[in-house]
Amino acid sequence: MSSAEAALWWARARAEGPLRVPSATRTPVGMLRLVEPGGERCWLLPKPPDDVTPAVLPELRMQAIPVEYPNETSRVLAAALRCCWTDSQASPWPGQPTTVREVLDVVDQLVPGRGEEVLLRLGTGALRRLHASRWLDVDDEAQRVCFGPRVATWPDQDLPALRELCRELPFPRPDWEPDR
């Protein structure tokens, strides 16, 4: 692949976010290739050198993309991490699929005492946001939640902290049902 083509892939990824392409596509230089569990398609993500992440933006005094309801969104992502990251010794991606119900159950245990309606409304909003930014892949029809490709961009040195976070989180309760 020529450097011009690689530059084009980078520009596309910068404009559109992670790219879902057929597996036959060659990996451009400096990009992370994540093969989907089915194997037919794969994700291409820019991988900056030295494990640099957008977390350095505040250090550079640059504006990061703001998150709506940042705490709620982070909690839902953490809950999804609890449910999907079953083998904590491996890296999170691709993880196991889970259900919307289980993710919301973990959130409910984190913040007990909120009404079901509030939980569903805030939780669904957070899941949509995470789906839109490709942190999670949420299938509304099947009520299924998987990791999105962006989860794989957490650098390796962050994984111990993530494991620690996961250990602190409660498991989904098998018999829990949101009463609507």
Partner: protein, 402 residues
């Protein structure tokens, strides 16, 4: 659907007519002398096209009617009357019983001009005017009187432009401002051109310094007004869309079709891919750790300073611990009224004995239970047995619940 289309079309037509009226206002004799229907403008357009095809022979009234067959007869008659009266169409030859007409070149050019004004609100005309004046003045052929007229004309045009922009920026709705946004396009080059004209005027005709001063202040005012109006438009677009006054579909299409260089230019100052927020691990941990504690939402009511008294009748308490103690006590006492502590504790190991003793003490101390533990003053030392230190005491029923 049709109704919606009709409303939209009517609104667009209204806008078109309003610009016509503004343009001809300086020439009109009466307020209702301008056309009120955009179709009449199309008729004139059709008419001039027909004249152009006809060439030097011109058209007869019948041919004109045939060319404009799409419009009702009485409308055509009315238009022909007006156009003939004002000289937009004239008899081809100056002789009686003339049947052929020809069209006026000036009228058609003014129509083109009107259409241009329609699209850009007159700002580009101001541009061209400035360019022409600059060229004319640079030639050095103009008189001082002409130069003064240029200065006054440009000053007045700029001041009117400023007045409109300021009114829209301060008092108008954002929608109105957005509609007039073409006035803001190329503001920088307009300012540059006006400044160039100003410099030439000052260089060749120093005696015009007073007019030039006014022109200078008009240019400065236009600069301020356009900056303020742009700022308001940007603010109205919102922070999240500040860089794209275009709809997202357009950006996406651009991203897919653009060449490498075009994409690189747009994204030159972006460090990371733009669209998604980043969830740092520290943020996740903080969000989980900082979960709000559930609050009942009710605070305890203030207590009266007066003692509660018998607010809580003794019969109403229910206390699992007291019930358990009562059970233990009854088990120890059996059907007797009193039992020696030594007897209860003998034959057990110290761990069990200690637990039983603790329960007995608790039952005795619980004011709601009718038991009491009475100790004598002597201590017996019993090496090798359990307990090895023993104070004789009696656990007994009190005379009645306290």
């Amino acid at each position: 659907m049709n109704e919606q289309l009709g409303l939209d079309a009517a609104a667009a037509e209204q806008a078109v007519v309003s610009v016509f009226e503004q343009i001809v206002a300086v020439l009109a004799r009466q307020a209702d002398a301008a056309i009120t229907d955009a179709a009449l403008f199309q008729l004139a357009d059709t008419l001039f096209a027909a004249f152009a095809r006809a060439g030097e022979d011109g058209l007869t009234a019948e041919q004109i009617r045939a060319a404009c067959a799409a419009f009702p007869d009485e409308v055509i008659d009315n238009r022909l009357g007006v156009l003939r009266k004002l000289g937009a169409i004239q008899p081809a030859f100056d002789k009686p019983y003339q049947r052929e007409y020809r069209a006026s070149f000036t009228s058609y050019v003014s129509m083109l001009f009107v259409q241009r004004m329609l699209a850009r609100g007159g700002q580009s005309e101001l541009h061209q005017l400035l360019t022409l004046e600059k060229i004319r003045l640079e030639g050095g052929q103009s008189t001082a009187e002409e130069a003064r007229e240029v200065a006054v004309g440009v000053t007045t045009a700029l001041r009117l432009l400023v007045a409109e922009l300021v009114a829209l920026t301060i008092g108008g709705t954002v929608e109105a401002l957005r509609e007039r946004a073409p006035l803001l396009w190329n503001a920088k080059s307009l300012i540059d051109q006006a400044s160039a004209v100003h410099e030439i005027l000052l260089e060749f005709w120093p005696e015009l310094s007073r007019w030039c001063g006014e022109l200078r202040s008009a240019i400065a005012a236009y600069e301020d007004a356009s900056t303020n109006a742009s700022a308001r438009l940007m603010a109205a677009a919102g922070t999240s869309r500040a860089l794209n006054l275009l709809p997202p579909e357009m950006w996406k299409r651009f991203a897919r079709r653009a060449t490498v260089d075009e994409l690189a230019a747009v994204l030159a100052d972006q460090v990371f891919d733009a669209p998604a927020p980043w969830h740092d691990v520290a943020d996740l941990a903080e969000a989980v750790a900082g979960t709000p504690q559930p609050t009942s939402g009710r605070s305890t009511p203030p207590r009266s300073r007066v003692p509660d008294g018998d607010e809580q009748p003794p019969g109403e308490w229910s206390d699992a611990e007291a019930e358990r103690l009562a059970g233990v006590a009854e088990e120890v006492l059996g059907d007797r009224d009193a039992v020696a502590v030594e007897q209860v504790l003998s034959g057990t190991d110290w761990v069990t004995a200690r637990r039983v003793l603790a329960d007995l003490v608790a039952a005795s101390n619980n004011a709601r239970l009718g038991y009491q533990l009475t100790w004598s003053g002597t201590v017996e030392v019993r090496p090798g047995s359990v307990p090895s230190w023993l104070t004789h005491g009696v656990f007994e029923r009190a005379r009645g619940p306290v």
